[in-house]
Symmetry: C2
Subunit: 388 residues, 2 copies
């Protein structure tokens, strides 16, 4: 008899679906909505990236290619890693695929249903969603505002059991913007080594850092033993629509992930991969200029949010989000999100969508026009003041 599989019971609805449905309804009714909920820069990619995509189409890069990625992109990733982290992985350690697929494939290749994966709370909603649909137990490590939203390695250690198969570490972090120190990262690497557990280092925001450096636990084993770097082009290069990312990891695991990707996807379109090469060759001054634009927007957003009664917002060191504390309003994060959407036309994500420790916070992506930030914060201030 037909019916859905058990697996479908673990498929989560998009946790911010309620908000999104309301946003769409308001927009359909002709109302203007200031949208800060989507984790995407309101800035286009560099023209050279778009041109590289078009040139690859013209050059005939339009047929099946190796499921692990085209050789020139894999080599470019090796070179980029060497420049950024000081070690050069072998090409056989690199697989080209969307960043979300890396999360899914790593979990499926190293964790059985019923076993455990550890990550931070609040944390990226896709970790939660993937673990849920695979029947893997998600063990959470709280990250707290008083520790600048950095994961404490000793708290991580205390949660490891004989069922732990994978640790996910995220720096800079989504949704909080927290950035791990070098000492903390090395300690996480040490813990993974001592406990003999795989370590997925989600470095998707490694280019989104302000006045501090990016540290990766991968420097310890150079991704040869247990560390898998996840990165991609959506955040650092504003290329969300390309769906292009990569994994760097132990060659035997990368080979398994490649077999899986070949089976369910064949390959990433080659003309998209050429865009990735172009992005990795972006001149440093262009990257620096973009980061300084982002920083101005971050600072403006933090300043304006802190002018609103009941809200306190610390300055995040990385990523593309602010994660203000809204407990002073007396509202839950979901109530807050509903109120500012209805009364101020501002769309934000309730912190509770990222785990129970996100309660009392909301997430806003600040890579928007300055005017939009100013207007939205003014509207929120009025809405929240009127309420009291």
């Amino acid at each position: 008899m037909k019916g859905f599989s058990k697996l479908t019971q673990g498929l989560l609805g998009q946790p911010m679906l309620d908000i999104l449905t309301n946003v769409c309804a308001l927009e359909a009714a002709g109302k203007k909505v200031y949208r800060f909920e989507v984790g995407d820069a309101n800035i286009d990619p560099y023209p050279h990236v778009i041109n590289a995509t078009k040139e690859a189409l013209d050059a005939g890069h339009i047929k099946y290619v190796d499921s692990l990625g085209i050789l020139p992109l894999r080599e470019a990733v090796c070179g980029y890693t060497e420049r950024k982290l000081g070690f050069r992985p072998a090409v056989s350690q690199v697989a080209v695929m969307p960043a979300n697929s890396v999360i899914d494939f790593v979990m499926r290749c190293v964790v059985n249903p019923g076993e455990e994966v550890i990550f931070s709370d609040p944390g990226f909603a896709v970790y939660i969603a993937v673990a849920s649909y695979l029947g893997i137990k998600a063990v959470k490590v709280p990250v707290r505002e008083e520790n600048e939203f950095r994961l404490n390695p000793e708290e991580l250690l205390s949660r490891i059991t004989d069922k732990t198969r994978l640790i996910i570490i995220t720096s800079p972090q989504n949704p909080t913007g927290g950035v791990m120190t070098e000492a903390e990262m090395l300690r996480v690497a040490e813990i993974a080594r001592e406990k003999d557990i795989y370590l997925l280092s989600d470095e998707i925001y490694a280019e989104n850092l302000y006045d501090c450096r990016h540290y990766s636990p991968a420097v310890v084993d150079q991704c040869r033993e247990r560390t898998i770097i996840l990165s991609g082009f959506s955040k650092g290069h504003s290329m969300s629509g390309w769906r292009l990312g990569y994994a760097i990891g132990p060659a035997d695991l990368i080979a398994k992930m490649g077999q899986m990707f070949e089976t369910v996807y064949t390959c990433v379109p080659p003309f998209i991969q050429y865009a990735g090469i172009s992005a990795l060759n972006t001149p440093a001054e262009l990257m620096a200029e973009r980061i300084s634009r982002y920083k101005k927007l971050r600072d403006l957003m933090v300043e304006k949010l802190n002018e609103i009664p009941g809200i306190t917002c610390s300055i995040p060191k990385g990523a593309i989000y602010v994660f203000p504390n809204i407990t002073g309003t007396g509202l839950t994060s979901k109530e807050f999100a509903q109120l500012v959407l209805e009364k101020a036309g501002v769309a934000v994500v309730p912190g509770s969508c990222f785990g129970e420790n996100g309660e009392g916070y909301v997430r806003l992506c600040y890579v928007r026009d300055e005017a939009m930030i100013t207007e939205a914060c003014a509207a929120m201030k009025i809405a929240l003041t009127a309420r009291g």
Copy 2:
């Protein structure tokens, strides 16, 4: 302790990997190889498709979009289905994703590990690979040359058990080129209805038909109850590098597949989806012209293969392959493939890669230059004759 999951044990190596490794070694050594093993036309897509991709990039269709696909493409798929099959699905019945992902997602959403899926033998290697890695039992229905490689619905019926959750039917078929009759298709639909089982109709080659019509079992329930149509742009529109396909099915199942795609992939790049709209709007005379080119190549390939002692090749009615019987050579299909690669520089796929009933046959994709077909067949003839 770290180690791979149980799931990885079911990941199959690419069944034609031995051949491909040898092909690459020969090419690296500077030897010319006539490559007929890849299931891809040696013909570019229409210029309007490439232009549509570039125009979408210029128009800024470069951000996240709905995981089920952009509305204009989903509507175009509804319109195309109405023109081709006589019924118009609702937009909520359409999900845009790569064709291989449709196979993976349908199996995962309706079949539990240990339950059964039925498909033909020989059959598409991805059905075998997906069932294997998911721990799903693949139940095979032999398709035979004496029945023009059409699946016999009564043989299908006899293999249904109380564990059967999904039937996959493929017409035109890969690797044989067999095309089901209308009566057979309606009988398959009836069996699925009577037994209350999902039916995945793989129609990826529906545009690759010669002097006969395409019949879909979906006309019975209009994809509202149990039938899922799988289609895409790689074969009919020579757009393999775009990785663009779609599913049409019951809205509740499509919603589950969309949640899964959102979790592990987010969405298909929007500029790629615009290329799909352009492809669906290809003028009928252009499509007809291309099919007549394909037919000439098919006929040439069949003629030349039949001139080789030990080979008999029937004329396939659809798809882009010939599947000659090579038992007259006294070789297994793997031995044959190795011999013609080594002695004639011709790459073909052993029929045994598609299941045990493929033994005694090899697959060649004939959408190549005429000269390449003639030269390769001449070289095979010499190599096989010299041997005896």
